[in-house]
């Protein structure tokens, strides 16, 4: 039935609906609009009115960038470029239509203005679900940005509030002889995004130095990683200065140099005013006090529901927390995981006109080795899916939809598995044109292929390397300007790779 309707789609002009306007959603929308003729409709549905360049939020969190430098308003851009836009959130999916609407549609709800609370059916020929993760602060008791002295840098708003609190602490320390404790890391036993927390802790350390209060502060890294430098990617062996070095050695070296302590294998389960409660892999229940904390929450799916044409619930055909795509979800032990488990086209197997690039797809499993405490609590990182793979996967989904429209049949020629894709993690470790610092890490592939690269931790040592120094900060700053330029669709924006 889906195939038939797709043939029909290609006889008329197509309507592509994109849910979400983050890195994946916006990338897909811009490429679709550039490559498809104006007769085809490209419509973005997102509750956010701004596009934000998330990787620069860490600089907002240390007061070295204003929030307005990391975001811009989407509506004027979309109006100018001919991209439709509805500021609304998706509520439920009807991939077969229903008794009121024969075409596939999503039910969306407006959040602002005169239409606030009003629901609408948005029909589509192709659907790109780029809704990203839900920041699941509620999964850790007491973890709510701005309360209990704990903050987040997951959005520019959160990062702005984090800076306000950090600034207050710095001012207080300047005017007194008091000591303080700062705790930065993961705020849930299964949290991911250790890279962002890693960048933030190093930037905070440098800012404390700049303000002359570093000697009054004890800085501690707390993480669900088994080893430093795991980053949810099972760590990596990389080439540093031409010599092989494990990521845990590199991070350990940097932390030791900057006087940062660390707590590993820690699953934070509860936050109270200035106190983080955690369980470690040995099964001990401990606490760590702080005067300022930045803890990354768990990520979860949005809890969308799906229904068939008879209004029967079919959520499990579309979602497994996040959206089901062409991954191999067969449960297997860590030793049997392969790169072939990871999706290549991000197409939903039940409805071939639905795709989920970026962070919206359900990963087949973690990348890091799963570990449990002796009490049975899962304490290990979930798989990270950062900006670069989000952009790459969104572009390949857009290209496959364009090919399908042009050829008149579903085409999945463009593929991009995270097991055959490189990524760069340019971690700023201090802001400043001459005093800045950065740790540049590239890794290939993102998901380690232990069969292809058995002697180098599953990765190609020629393409997996690390470099420390001022140049890394310049690279990160260049990427900030380049990607905001690209997102604003300025002349020749498409020449900048994802």
């Amino acid at each position: 039935m889906v195939k038939l309707s797709l043939i029909e789609i290609n006889l008329k002009m197509a309507k592509i609906v994109i849910l979400g306007a983050g890195i994946a959603g916006h990338t897909a929308a811009t490429h679709l609009r550039r490559k498809l003729s104006k007769e085809h409709e490209v419509l973005v549905v997102s509750p956010n009115r701004n596009y934000q360049w998330v990787p620069s939020n860490i600089w907002v969190g240390i007061g070295r960038m204003k929030p307005k430098e990391v975001f811009f308003s989407l509506l004027p851009l979309y109006k100018k470029k001919g991209i439709g836009y509805k500021q609304a959130k998706v509520v439920s999916f009807y991939p077969e239509g229903n008794s009121l609407e024969t075409n596939p549609f999503v039910s969306v709800e407006y959040l602002y203005g005169d239409n606030a609370g009003k629901q609408e059916m948005v029909t589509y020929d192709y659907l790109i679900n780029a809704t990203g993760p839900k920041l699941a602060f509620d999964l850790t008791e007491g973890l709510n940005p701005g309360t209990n002295k704990a903050y987040s840098v997951c959005t520019y708003d959160h990062a702005g509030h984090a800076w306000d609190a950090l600034k207050n602490l710095i001012n207080k320390l300047k005017q007194s002889n008091e000591k303080a404790k700062i705790l930065i890391g993961t705020g849930h036993p299964k949290a991911t995004c250790q890279g962002a927390a890693f960048e933030y802790i190093l930037n905070v350390e440098q800012e404390l130095n700049r303000h002359g209060v570093r000697d009054k502060v004890e800085i501690t890294w707390i993480s669900n990683e088994y080893k430093l430098g795991d980053f949810g990617m099972d760590g990596m062996l990389m080439s540093v200065g031409g010599k092989p070095m494990a990521s845990d050695e590199l991070v350990e070296m940097v932390f030791a140099d900057r006087g940062i302590k660390w707590i590993l294998g820690a699953g934070v389960t509860k936050v109270e005013e200035g106190v983080a409660h955690y369980e470690n892999l040995e099964g001990e229940y401990k606490t760590e006090t702080f005067d300022f904390a930045m803890l990354i929450p768990a990520f979860s799916g949005h809890g969308f529901k799906a229904f068939d044409k008879g209004d029967n619930e079919i959520t499990d055909k579309l979602f497994k927390g996040f959206m089901i795509v062409d991954a191999d979800y067969t449960p297997r032990p860590y030793e049997e995981w392969t790169v072939q488990d990871w999706p290549e086209t991000y197409q939903n197997p039940s409805y071939h006109n639905i795709f989920a690039p970026g962070i919206a797809f359900a990963p087949p499993h973690a990348i890091s080795k799963p570990r449990k405490s002796i009490n049975g609590t899962d304490i290990s990182p979930s798989p990270p899916r950062t900006g670069m793979p989000s952009g790459i996967t969104a572009k390949l989904v857009a290209d496959n939809i364009i090919d399908s429209i042009n050829k008149g049949a579903i085409s999945l020629h463009h593929k991009g598995s995270m097991g055959n894709m490189g990524a760069a993690c340019i971690a700023s470790s201090g802001f400043g044109m001459l005093k800045g610092k950065g740790i540049s890490i590239t890794t290939y592939p993102i998901v380690p292929d232990y069969i292809k690269y058995p002697n180098s931790g599953g990765r190609d040592l020629g393409k997996t390397f690390g470099a420390l120094g001022l140049a890394g900060h310049w690279v990160k700053l260049s990427l900030h300007y380049a990607f905001i330029y690209k997102a604003k669709m300025k002349p020749f924006w498409w020449l900048i790779p994802e």
Binding site: I392, S417, G422, T443
Partner: protein, 45 residues
Amino acid sequence: MVKKITRFQKFVMHNPFIQFFMFLFLNVKILSVVAFGHGGTRDKK
């Protein structure tokens, strides 16, 4: 035992002249790793 960043390594890391060439190298290296060669994995199984 934790490795240490040597004084020479710190000099290289903070020297703007050396780092300018490192900046050019990093851009080329990063582009070569991330911009090309994406694909599937299952054909190769």
